[in-house]
Symmetry: C2
Subunit: 440 residues, 2 copies
């Protein structure tokens, strides 16, 4: 017997209600024909968007009251979906659904519901509510999987993947003292959400503890939308290297210092901004480089800037390429310094190494999309995600749905309801395929 | 009889004490041989530097407690010099010395004692204390001039020539509501220093009210120091045009937005910073152009800047040249905007028209330097000064002494004691030459 047909029969049998079937009741769709209820999923997304809504966008930053209230709403949905809900020590909300094989490691899937300041209603929310919708759909169809299933809503993703870091055992003591955008330290924020920063070890999952991790997310870029493709199969999450560059010139009076006597730190910084763009675009590929923050000191219209502090960020799937580009930027910075009478110092203050998804998981996701009649394309994730942490301890897969215009981290962020429903169905089918042994 | 010898005899006669001369008492030096006491002047400068001294420089910003206390110290020196001291409605300290001809308009000379944040001890202080030293020297030599003399210590020069604006009747109601660096509004600050913002008209001097205005100041640039020249004869104070430029791009995720899909406001701004430098240095002359302030929004390392606000300042003695350069910068801004998918808007928020000094006053100052055996050079003032306001209602002259290394608005600002003494002697001789009818 075909393994899938066998599995389907098992599922059908297990879904029979205790009192037997009363005909002509419709048998719920099962297995590969199972579908989420898109209207309900999109209604839940709209309801969640009320938490933290302001005139300038969604402000549900981690550890805020809006975050706490949004999580309470999400917890309610999880309970309605029949999940056994708890908050782990890292303040991640975990909703568990038992499987037939109590010894099997759980399949974990989910995302986050915290937002950036002035953010939108899809980043994180789509993956979290779709995971719950998958659980609800399985409950309604009385599907029982072999593996236990766990829906995860990670805490403080936007502030540095805090919840998923805790889950993989990499949340350090020093990081707990960092003040988050909410104004609370991460330690206090975790406590505020019901976690326990003193017992983080209890939240930790080790390699082998999970059968897989799967995350649905909006692309946050414009590739799928522009190409009119339904589903992105994520090949990996790019590495990110962040430098803080300090440029020292000499502050002097803007009226009395002749042009040829200046050591203008901003003039040098501007050359570096252009150099970052030139170097990053000088080789083929999907790497990106950004100067997002710049400050000139003393910062008065009538004083030549004596010091500039700016960031340089480089992202790519290849750690080697990031390194090569960073070396070129630093070398160019030294050249600019010499030419402008300034000194440039580069401080690497943050580095995330690239995280590749599991090749078999990529294949299962693509097959799930095929089975649903959806177009798909393999692409990297330029943004960081909780999946990059989980990829260190479990086979990870990641599914993207289109972002209209590629806009994200903005109130103008939008993913269309039909695309979200497609993504949730791919998530559902991917989880079932993994449960059926697709990664084994 | 040579006019100067005649004058000197008059001065000698007028200086005789009421009770006659007791020989062999030394006759004080008079007229062209009169000299200030440099040691005392430089000691007073050192004493004044104690007010507002901090680890990061002199912080005697207008309307601060340090400013008030420094002015009290200066007022004491003025009284010791025999001046009749009052504070006008604009909070300028005015010390008057009667002349022989009560109907003659006064000769005004002075500067300011407020500092920029983290400033030095010479900008303003040198001119103010030298003016007092001139008065002290005249008192000790029992010199009585024909014109009344007035020593002025203007209020809040660094915050926009506030005191001198009040004196020429150009301090407006709107400006009074501006919050100064002290945290006080200008209105409250004027009151804090003993002025009366409700009666500013009483501080006003009209055209014809003053015989002349003379100001000694440090160069704040490096021209004199580099050339080893003792005295600068200022031909004028440059005009200043200040724009605030807003560059609108589109803020987006720095990881997910491909390089060729960006509308990066900071990339456009950096091109404009370089263009300002290129355009200003593209024609011969002493014009300067500066971008001193820049802010990128939202200003996060992982977000492409969607908006940048920066300043562009252009200075020159020629209003036509400023206009020509500004037009080129704006045109280049439009070209950059088109090329980068951003829009640039230029808002002219401040404009000071160039102020030329009186040609006869320039000649008198040069002759005074010659008479003292000092080298001199004509040069523009790149910085704004109270003299530019006074130049609108009276013949104005301005004397520069060297700034070591051209450094100013910095704790490293330095003018050498000998240079300061030279400047004070040139001021003394210039005032006497004006009194003797040099501008008539």
């Amino acid at each position: 017997m075909d393994r899938r047909v066998f599995l389907r029969n098992v599922l059908l049998a297990s879904a029979l209600p205790p009192g037997g079937v009363t005909w002509p009741r419709l048998v719920p769709r099962q297995g590969r024909s199972l579908r989420v209820t898109g209207d309900r999923l999109n209604r839940h997304l709209a309801e969640l968007s009320a938490f933290g809504r302001t005139d300038t966008g969604t402000n549900r930053v981690a550890y805020s009251d809006a975050d706490r209230d949004g999580r309470a709403y999400v917890t309610g949905l999880m309970r309605e979906a029949g999940l056994d809900v708890r908050v782990d020590a890292g303040a991640n909300i975990i909703g568990r659904r038992a499987g037939r094989d109590a010894a099997a490691p759980p399949i974990l899937f989910g995302s986050h519901v915290d937002s950036v300041p002035d953010g939108g209603n899809f980043d994180g929310d789509v993956g979290s509510l779709s995971a719950i919708e998958v659980a609800q759909t399985l409950a309604e169809s009385r599907t029982v999987t072999r593996h236990p299933l766990e829906v995860a809503v990670f805490s403080n993703e936007e502030g540095g993947l805090v919840g998923s870091k805790a889950m993989v055992g990499e949340l350090t003591g020093a990081e707990l003292d960092v003040v988050s955008r909410s104004g609370k330290t991460i330690r206090d924020g975790i406590r505020f959400l019901g976690g326990d920063p003193d017992r983080l070890a209890t939240a930790r999952r080790a390699r082998g503890d999970l059968a897989a991790y799967v995350e649905l997310h909006i692309e946050q870029g414009g590739t799928l939308d522009e190409a009119g493709i339904n589903i992105g199969v994520v090949e990996g999450i790019v590495g990110i290297r962040d430098y803080e560059v300090t440029i020292e010139g000499f502050a002097n009076h803007a009226g009395t210092t002749p042009m040829d006597h200046r050591r203008d730190a901003l003039l040098a910084a501007s050359q570096l901004v252009l150099a970052v763009n030139r170097i990053v675009t000088s080789v083929p590929g999907r790497q990106v480089g950004t100067v997002g923050r710049i400050q000139a000191f003393p910062g008065a219209p009538n004083v030549i800037p004596g010091r500039v502090v700016m960031t340089v960020e480089i992202r790519d799937l290849s750690a080697e390429k990031i390194d090569m580009l960073a070396r070129q930027v630093i070398a160019e910075g030294e050249r600019i310094g010499t030419a402008t009478g300034t000194t440039m110092s580069f401080r690497l203050y943050s580095e995330n190494i690239p995280a590749l998804t599991d090749a078999r998981a990529q294949r299962l996701i693509a097959q799930a999309a095929d089975g649903l009649g959806l177009t798909h394309r393999t692409l990297p994730s330029g943004a960081g995600h909780d999946a990059q942490d989980l990829a260190r301890i479990a086979p990870a897969g990641m599914i993207f749905v289109p972002s209209v215009g590629g806009i994200s981290h903005s109130p103008r962020e939008l993913s269309r309801p039909a695309d979200i429903t497609n993504g949730a169905n791919v998530l559902l089918q991917s989880v079932l395929a993994i449960d059926a042994g697709g990664l084994e």
